[in-house]
Amino acid sequence: MSEARVVIVGAGHAGGTAAALLRQYGHEGPIALIGDEPIPPYQRPPLSKAWLKGEADADSLALKPTEFYAEAGIDFRPGTSVSALNRGAKTVTLSDGSTLPYDHLILATGARAIALPIAGKDLEGILFLRTAADAEALKAAVGPGKRLAVVGGGYIGLEVAASGRALGADVVVLEREDRILARVACKALSDFFTGQHEAHGVTFELGCSVTAFEGRDGRVTGVTLADGRTIACDAVVVGVGATPNDELAKDAGLECARGVVVDLDARSVTDPAVFAIGDVAHRPMPIYDRMFRMESVPNALEQAKQAACAITGRPRPPGECPWQWSDQYDLKLQIAGYAFDVDEIVVRGDPATARFAVFHLKGDQVQSVEAINAPPEFMMGKQLILSRKPVNKAKLADPSISMKEVAA
């Protein structure tokens, strides 16, 4: 099957990486890479950080140079979407009306930002941050003297807030919960980031519900809250989460559960000819004995690897510890694992020093770690999460004992 035809739907980090890895792994058959954006695959994380601040350009964002795709014999089709999947005939129908046959199909359609279904949502200046085009619009909207309202105090919102401040804009973060990062981090970390952002001049409105956007001449001028107040602004970034683009899979009868349900090879549990990778996949994670969907670059890369290995007959990559990172100001946050079934939290180090780590434990096993400027805690935490090795909590809580000794 070395001449097998591979069609990859979605040219983001996952799809672009899968195409490149297939060639690296010696796949000789045709590869088509279908992307609805006008440009070749690029890295999304810098969009809210280095790129927004003008420290990275389009070339440095690109996963590969534009000429790579032709040179590697990858039929890259920008500005094209897939309108239908016919699993019986093993074809996809493209937005230009043509059909493309496949032997292996990789769905890498990603996720899209959730919009707020409230009055004024279509006003100009209400932005999301998902694509390079979104980032371009945001870059144009922030600068000295501008006032930016960020709806949602999650990682994307906070990174935008930090970059907005770096560009000289006034920034207010509006969060529904009573603390930022409420869904993804413990209180110690929320408090730490709140303090850091306040020290950099960001203001917060917590426990507030956004009820409408106000505008003038079609352009946003403010955000109305449930308590009747209006927060004036020149632009809004909505960062309240994302939803998987799994409609194509659902319509084709593939089992989905907020994402395409796949096995350890990233293969659909419904159809062995179809893979789903990255933000759109609902995948098993044996270390937690459950299935879930992740939105991170390491996850996209890992699943691209799984699908490319399965297609080229390579052994499956060893199980990984999921991880992600965030940069805000001069803080490096590295997160390993997910805090499932946690019954105890151990803070190692003093948050006041801006170098500490929060370990989430289930019994004496590490489920996840959030490390601020603390690479040893992150690196060793990652290994402990993967090995499921029990740890001594007293040692873990004592920063004078090295992480190597804690894990010994």
């Binding site: 490149a20 994380p45 810098p46 996963l63 990172w325 490096k332 690196m379 290994q383």
Partner: protein
Amino acid sequence: MAKITYVEHNGTEHTIDVKPGLSVMEGAVKNNIPGIDADCGGACACATCHVYVNEAWLEKTGTRSAMEESMLDFAEGVQDNSRLSCQIKVTDALDGLVVTMPESQH
């Protein structure tokens, strides 16, 4: 342009021209050279772009930053000449550089 030779763990050599200003990691990734994963894209957050710098080039490639040192301390197969290739900026002075990749980046 600086000519950089990337040697895979199995001995396969790839010599390519890398534009000054890019990192040694970017030179490999943008040319689809196997052996450097670079999961974080150069944020010094993952240690999956680990390379061994050929002894003759150690001085010219500079020294590890504190963050890099700390990340490398926990990577596999670390040697005295280990570096994270995302932290080595390519300049004309690195024309001829040779780096070797470890067996795995995990």
